[in-house]
Symmetry: C2
Subunit: 778 residues, 2 copies
C-alpha cells in the first residue's frame, strides 16, 4: 500500500480562501466516481483558466484534478467531512447549487459577507464550472451535506382517516353483521393460534379440534326449514364460511366439507328420513363425513364418473363399486382420517339400464375409526398447502348400502327396482343435482376474498412502516410511498371492495331465488364470481407476498401460508377454466343447461339471432373523451363494461356460427373459440363487479363513505379497463389519447388511495389477534 | 312414487313402423331437457299435422309429446336403448341428421329398402320436424348413438418427433455439455430422492448431506486462477448451479450460498492470503459458511446497512457490532445450523471517518457447532418453501476479528489505520464490490429457468395423457388438445427455450468480460434476465400447477414444491422491482453507476440528448401488414422489440427531463416515472431474449432443429408482442387488423407446437428419475 503524497492534504483545498467555493465541485467530480479521464481533464482545464484564481490556488486545483493521480479515498472522505464542518450552520432544508454552497461556505468562513474577490464575474464562472460537471447541483449538494445523516429517521405521519372506519366495517358486514361479529368473537376467544409448522398429522388434529369448537357454537347447524326457513340459515352459514376466511384456510375447508358439502348434500339431495337421521349429528360433528364426488379419472367431467351403484332388488340394496383405478375417489376431504360416512356419487344402474349420476350415503368407518369392510382409504399425502385437511382416496369393493341410502329428492328407486324422477331428462336431472352445490361456489369465492383481504392488510400495513431508499441525504421513505408499490397494492384494495359487494349481492340473490325452478342464471353468476375471486386471490396474495420481500416469505407473517392454501381454490369447487366455459355458454343460449355439458345440441337458432344483433355505436365524442369527470363517472364505467361484454358475445356467436355452418361438430367449434369464450367470461365477471360496486354506492348518501368508495370504484373500473386496454383500442372503443389519460388518472387515484390506505384495510374488520403477522404491527 | 301408466311403452314408438323415423327426434326433444312447454306443444302440433301418419301413429305421438305429462325417466332411458338396439349396425363414424337416422333405422328394421310410404314428401316433412327442434342434428345423433360408449378409450397417438431430441439436448447443453452430463449422472447415482414431507430439521440435514456429495464430486471447487483461469471455472460452476435446478431447489440455494456467495466472496473480494487459508476448505465443505449482507432494516438498500466494523489500531482488530435491532443480519443462508464462518458486510469506521460498506470474515461457530462469544444466532423459522435451507438471523456484540479478515481486494487498512483503495470514489467502490456478485444473479435466473422446465415438462406430459370431456359420444380428449390448454403451455415452452439461449449467451459474455474494468452493461443485462427468468418461473410454474388441477397440488408431483421454492427467487439476489430500476437507469446515462443508487447526480445533460433523439417512423405498410411471412420473419420480430425499447427510453427521458426542469429533485422525478421505468426494463429483457433466440437460430443450418426452434421463436415473439398489444396499438406501431392477425397466428402456432410438445419438453434432458412426478409417467 502506498501512502498518497503527491498532492496537498484535504485541508489545503478548504484552507485556501479562493478554493472554498470550488471545493464542493471538486468533491462531487470525484465522489460521483464516473467522470471519464477526458471529462476530468476538461474540467481541470476549465478550472485552470479561471482568471480570478491566484497561482497557488491553481496549483492546488491542478493537483486535485489530475486524472492520472486521483485523490485517495481517505482524502475524499476527509474533504467531505471538512466541507460539512465548514457548512455546519447551513439550514438542512435549503436547496443550493454547488456554486452557491461554495459561496455560502466562503462567507461563513470569513466575516459573514461575500469576500472582496467575489463578484458577478466569479459567480458566473462558478456556475459554468458546475454546468461542466453535468450534475443536478441541488441534489449533489443535498447528498453531500446530508449523506451522513441518512440514518436519522423522522416519524412518518399517516394522514388521518377521512371516513369512519367502524361505519365502513358495518357497511361491509351488511346483513350478516351478527355472523361476522360472532366469528370475530370466537376466533379471538382463545385457542385459535396459527400452527403452520405442525407436522401434517398434528395439524389435522388441531384443525379438527378447532372445528369442534365451531360446532359447539352451533356454527354448522342445518335444519330443513324450521322457523326461519332454509334461506336465512344458508345465508348465515355462507357468511360464517366467508368470515372464517380471515383465519386458517384448512379450517375453512374442513368446515365447508363437513357442514356445507356433507351436511348440504343431505339437506338438499336427501329427504325427510335423511334429515332426521343425520343432520343433527353432522352439525354437532358427532358424525364427521365427506363428499365423494371427484374421481382420479374425472374431476371436472363429473357426468362421466365411473363408480357404480347397482341396485340389487333381491336384497333391496345398492352395491357401491370402484370398477377400476381411474374410478377411485380422489381428493376427498375428511376421508384420510376423520370421516365416518360419505356422500358418494355413482352411476346408478338398475338391470340393464343406466340412469346417470346419483348420490348415496355410504358409511366408511366405525366409531373407533376403523375402515369398514370393502372400503379402502389412502392418504392423498402432502400438498402445497391446506395440510390441515385430511384428503384421501377411496376404493369401494362391492359395498352394500340399503335402498334408503339413496339421497332421493330428485330420483327414487322402488323396492322392485322401478326408477322414478320428477325430472325426466337425465341431463336436466344431473344439472339440477349439481345446482344444489352453487352455495359452495359462492362461499369459496367469498372465503378466498377474505383471505385476500388479510394478505393485503398485512402488506399495506408493512408497506407504510417499512422504509428503503430515499432522497439524497434524507431519511428513507416508506416503500408504500413509491409509485410502483402503490400501483401494485391500491387497485387490489379497490378490487377487494368491489368483489365484496358483488359477492354479497349474489349471496342475497341466491337466498332469494334458491327455491325457484330455474336457477341457472344464479349458477352462472356464482361461477363467474368464484373464478374472479379465486384468481384474484392468487394474484393479489402473490403481489402482497412480493411487496413484503423476504418477510412475506416467512410463514409467521401469514401471507405465504395464505398463498399456498388459496392456490387450490382455483381448482376445487369447479376448475376455473372449466367454469369460465360454463359462464360463456350460459350467455350463448336460452337453452342454457345443455351448454354446461361439453356436447351442446342446440345452437343454430339462437346463434343466428345473436350473431346479427350486436351493432355497437362507437361515438368519437366518447372514445376520445379524456375528461376526468367523464372517466370517473359511473355512467361511463358501467357502459364500457357492458359494451365489451356485449361485443364479445356477438363476436363469439359469429365465430361459432361460422364453424357450425361449415359443418364442424359443436365440440370442435367450441374448442376453436375457447379463447374467446374465456374473454367473454372474464368480461362478464368484471362487469358484474362493476355494477355491484356502483349500485352499492348509489344507495349511500353523500358523505365520507360515499367519497371513499367512489374513489375505489373509479380505481377498480380504470384498473380493469386498462388491463384490457389492447382490446378496447383494437375495437375502437377507446382511442390512444383516452388510453393515456386513463393511465395517468390511474396513477393519480393510486396516490389518493394511498393516503387512506390504512383506514381502508383496517375497515375490513380483521381483529389484530387474527391478522397476527408480526410485520403488520409496529 | 307413481308408476307412469298414461302412455304407451317405449317399444310402442319403435314398434310402429311409421314412427321409427321420428323416434330419435322424440327422444332428443325430451332428453335435451329444456324445451319449453310451448315448444313441445308446437312440435306436437306439427307432428299431428303430418298427413302421411296413420291415426294410431298420431295417437302414440300425441301421448309421447304431451307437455302436461312428459315421459318418465325410465321410459326415456328405455327408448334410448331401443333406438340403439335398432341402429346397432350403423357405422359409428357416420354423421347423420336425426331424420336420416330415423330413415336408416326404418330401413334396417324392414327389408333393407325404404318402406313404401317413404317418399320425398315424407323426407322433407321429417327434415322440417327436425328443424323445429332447433338442434344440430348430427351432434344429437352422435350423442344418442354413442353416449353409452363414452367410457371406451382409444389410444391417443402422439405425433412422432420431427427433430432429433438428443441433438436438441446437445445444442441446449452447449459449451457445458460435460457439466450437465455430470449433474445428470450424480443426481441419478442414488441417494437423491425428494424429501418434501420431512420436518424442517431433518430436511436441512438431508440437504447438507446432498451438498456433501456434490462437494465430494468437486462441484464446489474454486481456485484463484489455476491452470484454466477463473473464467472457465466460473462458467462450470454457474452451469452446475443451473443444471442442479432440475432437482431440489433447497440444495441449489445451499450450493449457491456455500460455494457461490461464501466461496465467491473470498475469491473475488479477498486476496491471496484469504484464498490460501480458506478456498479449499470451503470447496470441500470442511468450512461451511455464509454471506451476511442483508439486514432486517436493509435488504435492497445495502449501501445504508448499519452493522459497523470499527478499526481498533491498538489491537489491530476490527470490532464487528450490531448497533440496533434493525441492523441484525437477516435471512442469512446456512446461518441457523451449519455455518462456521460468515462473510459479513459492515460499515467500516476508522476514527472519525466512515468509509462505507466492506466485507469481513467473521467466525461464528466452533467445530462442535457452538456459537462463538459475542455472536447470537436465531432461526428465521418456517418459510413458504426452501425449508431445506437453514436461514438465520445474526447479532454481533463487539466481536473482534484480526485486521487480516478484511477482504481487501478493493480496500485495505494499514496497521496504523490508514485506509487505502484503488478506487477513490466510495460510490464506485461500493458498486464494484457488489458487481462481483453478478455471477449469482445470472445463476439464480438460470436455475429458476431449469426449475420452470421441470414444471412445464411435467404439466405437458400429464396434459397429453389426461383426458376430460370430448365430442358427443366419443372418447374423452387429452386436455392438452384443448385450445386454452395449448395457449397456456405452448408459449411458456417457447419462452423457456428463448430464455435458455439468452442466459447461456449472457453467461459466456460474463466469463469473457469479467476481468474488464467496466462491467456495468453486463450487470444490467444480468439484472434484466434475472428478473425475466424468475418472474417467468413464478408465472409458468403457476400455470403448470393449475393445468394439472388437483394433481398439481400434490407435493409428490413436484410442481407445488417448485412453485413454493421458486417464489423467493423474485426477491433474493436483488428484489425484482428494484433490479428493474437498475436496468432502466443503466439505459438512462453513460454515468451508469450513479443511477444504481437512488440519488443520481448526473442527469440533465444526457437526458436532454436522449429526449430529443427518438423519432420513430411508423410505416403504414408495416403497421398494417398482416401477412404471415412478415409476422414470422425474425426481421420484423427483432425490429419491433427494438422499436418499443427505444420509444420507451425516449418517453421516459422526456418525462424525467420535464420534471427536473420543473425543479423537482431526482428522487421525486424518478419516483413519478417509476411505472415507465418498469415498462422500459421489461422491454429490454424481452428484446434481449428475442435477439438471443434469433441469433441462436441464425447459427443453425436449415433442418429439423432449425424448423422446430423457428416455430418456438415465432411463438415467443408473438406471445410477448401480444401481451403488450395495448402499448403497440396506443403508439401506432400495430394497427387493429395486424393485432387480430397476431392473435390468430398465435393460436395456429400453438397448434403446431402442441404436435411436438412432448419431444420439445423431453429435449430439456431432465432424467426421468429426476423429473420423478408420478403424473408425468403413464
Amino acid at each position: 500500500m502506498e501512502t498518497p503524497v503527491s498532492k496537498p492534504e484535504a485541508r489545503a483545498l478548504i484552507d485556501h480562501e479562493q478554493l472554498l467555493p470550488i471545493a464542493p465541485m471538486v468533491y462531487v467530480a470525484w465522489a460521483d466516481g464516473d467522470l471519464t479521464s477526458d471529462e476530468v481533464r476538461r474540467i481541470r482545464q476549465q478550472a485552470a483558466e479561471q482568471d480570478w484564481l491566484d497561482e497557488s490556488a491553481k496549483t492546488v486545483l491542478r493537483a486535485w484534478l489530475d486524472p492520472e493521480d486521483p485523490p485517495s479515498a481517505t482524502q475524499l472522505t476527509r474533504l467531505c467531512r471538512a466541507i460539512n464542518e465548514a457548512a455546519d450552520e447551513l439550514a438542512a432544508e435549503q436547496r443550493l447549487s454547488l456554486a452557491d454552497l461554495g459561496v455560502r461556505i466562503a462567507k461563513l468562513d470569513g466575516p459573514g459577507e461575500e469576500p472582496e474577490w467575489m463578484n458577478e464575474h466569479v459567480h458566473k464562472a462558478l456556475l459554468d464550472l458546475e454546468k461542466g460537471l453535468g450534475v443536478v447541483g441541488e441534489d449533489a449538494t443535498h447528498a453531500l451535506l446530508h449523506g451522513l445523516d441518512r440514518r436519522a429517521k423522522e416519524r412518518f405521519h399517516e394522514a388521518p382517516a377521512r371516513f369512519d372506519v367502524e361505519q365502513m366495517t358495518r357497511l361491509l358486514d351488511g346483513n350478516w353483521r351478527d355472523t361476522w361479529q360472532k366469528v370475530r368473537e370466537v376466533l379471538t376467544s382463545g385457542g385459535f393460534d396459527y400452527a403452520y409448522e405442525l407436522p401434517k398429522d398434528e395439524y389435522r388434529q388441531q384443525v379438527f379440534e378447532w372445528l369442534q369448537v365451531l360446532a359447539e357454537h352451533g356454527m354448522g347447524e342445518m335444519k330443513p326449514g324450521g322457523e326461519e326457513g332454509v334461506g336465512p340459515q344458508m345465508g348465515r352459514f355462507m357468511a360464517t364460511f366467508e368470515a372464517l376466511g380471515m383465519f386458517d384456510l384448512s379450517l375453512v375447508v374442513k368446515f365447508g366439507v363437513q357442514f356445507g358439502l356433507f351436511g348440504g348434500s343431505i339437506l338438499f339431495l336427501g329427504t325427510e328420513r335423511h334429515h332426521e337421521a343425520y343432520l343433527e349429528k353432522v352439525g354437532s360433528l358427532e358424525l364427521p363425513g365427506g363428499f365423494a364426488m371427484t374421481e382420479l379419472g374425472h374431476g371436472s367431467n363429473v357426468r362421466d364418473l365411473r363408480t357404480t351403484a347397482t341396485y340389487d332388488a333381491d336384497t333391496g340394496e345398492f352395491v357401491i363399486h370402484t370398477p377400476d383405478e381411474y374410478a377411485r375417489k380422489e381428493w376427498i376431504g375428511n376421508a384420510a382420517v376423520h370421516a365416518k360416512m360419505m356422500t358418494v356419487f355413482a352411476q346408478l344402474e338398475i338391470g340393464e339400464d343406466s340412469y346417470g349420476v346419483h348420490a348415496f350415503l355410504v358409511p366408511v368407518r366405525d366409531d373407533d375409526g376403523n375402515t369398514l369392510e370393502g372400503v379402502r382409504i389412502e392418504d392423498c399425502g402432502h400438498k402445497m398447502g391446506l395440510n390441515g385437511v385430511d384428503n384421501g382416496r377411496i376404493w369401494f369393493d362391492k359395498v352394500r348400502v340399503p335402498r334408503e341410502n339413496l339421497l332421493d329428492r330428485y330420483a327414487s328407486v322402488s323396492a322392485e327396482g322401478e326408477y322414478d324422477s320428477p325430472i325426466p331428462s337425465a341431463t336436466k336431472r344431473f344439472f339440477t343435482m349439481l345446482g344444489t352445490l352453487v352455495a359452495g361456489r359462492i362461499s369459496v369465492g367469498a372465503a378466498a376474498l377474505t383471505a385476500t383481504k388479510s394478505a393485503l392488510a398485512i402488506a399495506t400495513r408493512y408497506g407504510a412502516r417499512r422504509r428503503q431508499f430515499g432522497p439524497a441525504g434524507e431519511p428513507e421513505k416508506p416503500i408504500l410511498n413509491y409509485r410502483t408499490h402503490k400501483r401494485r397494492l391500491m387497485p387490489r384494495i379497490a378490487t377487494a371492495y368491489g368483489l365484496h359487494f358483488a359477492i354479497d349481492g349474489l349471496r342475497e340473490l341466491y337466498i332469494e331465488t334458491r327455491d325457484q325452478e330455474d336457477t341457472r342464471e344464479v349458477e352462472a353468476m356464482a361461477a363467474a364470481l368464484k373464478v374472479f375471486s379465486t384468481w384474484n386471490a392468487i394474484e393479489a396474495v402473490q403481489e402482497a407476498r412480493e411487496c413484503c420481500g423476504g418477510m412475506g416469505y416467512l410463514s409467521e407473517n401469514r401471507i405465504a401460508p395464505i398463498r399456498k392454501d388459496v392456490d387450490i381454490f382455483a381448482t376445487f369447487e369447479g376448475d376455473n377454466t372449466v367454469l369460465m366455459m360454463l359462464v360463456a355458454r350460459n350467455h350463448l343460449s336460452e337453452y342454457k343447461q345443455q351448454f354446461q355439458d361439453a356436447t351442446p345440441f342446440t345452437l343454430a337458432r339462437y346463434l343466428a339471432k345473436q350473431a346479427s344483433s350486436v351493432v355497437q355505436k362507437r361515438n368519437p365524442l366518447v372514445t376520445r373523451d379524456t375528461d376526468k369527470a367523464h372517466l370517473r363517472s359511473s355512467k361511463f364505467q358501467r357502459q364500457i363494461f357492458r359494451v365489451r361484454e356485449k361485443d364479445l358475445l356477438g363476436s363469439v356467436a359469429r365465430r361459432l356460427k361460422a364453424r357450425l355452418d361449415a359443418g364442424k361438430d359443436a365440440f370442435t367449434a367450441f374448442n376453436e373459440v375457447q379463447d374467446h369464450l374465456l374473454s367473454l367470461s372474464k368480461a362478464t365477471a368484471e362487469r358484474m363487479v362493476m355494477e355491484s360496486f356502483a349500485d352499492q354506492i348509489d344507495t349511500l348518501e353523500d358523505g365520507p363513505l360515499h367519497d371513499a368508495l367512489s374513489l375505489l370504484r373509479d380505481l377498480y373500473a380504470l384498473e380493469y379497463i386498462y388491463r384490457d386496454i389492447g382490446w378496447f383500442l383494437e375495437n375502437g372503443y377507446i382511442e390512444p389519447p383516452k388510453s393515456r389519460a386513463i393511465r395517468d388518472l390511474l396513477n393519480e387515484l393510486c396516490e389518493q388511495a394511498r393516503e387512506q390506505a390504512l383506514p381502508l384495510v383496517n375497515a375490513w374488520g380483521i381483529p389484530d389477534e387474527v391478522l397476527a403477522a408480526p410485520i403488520a404491527f409496529p
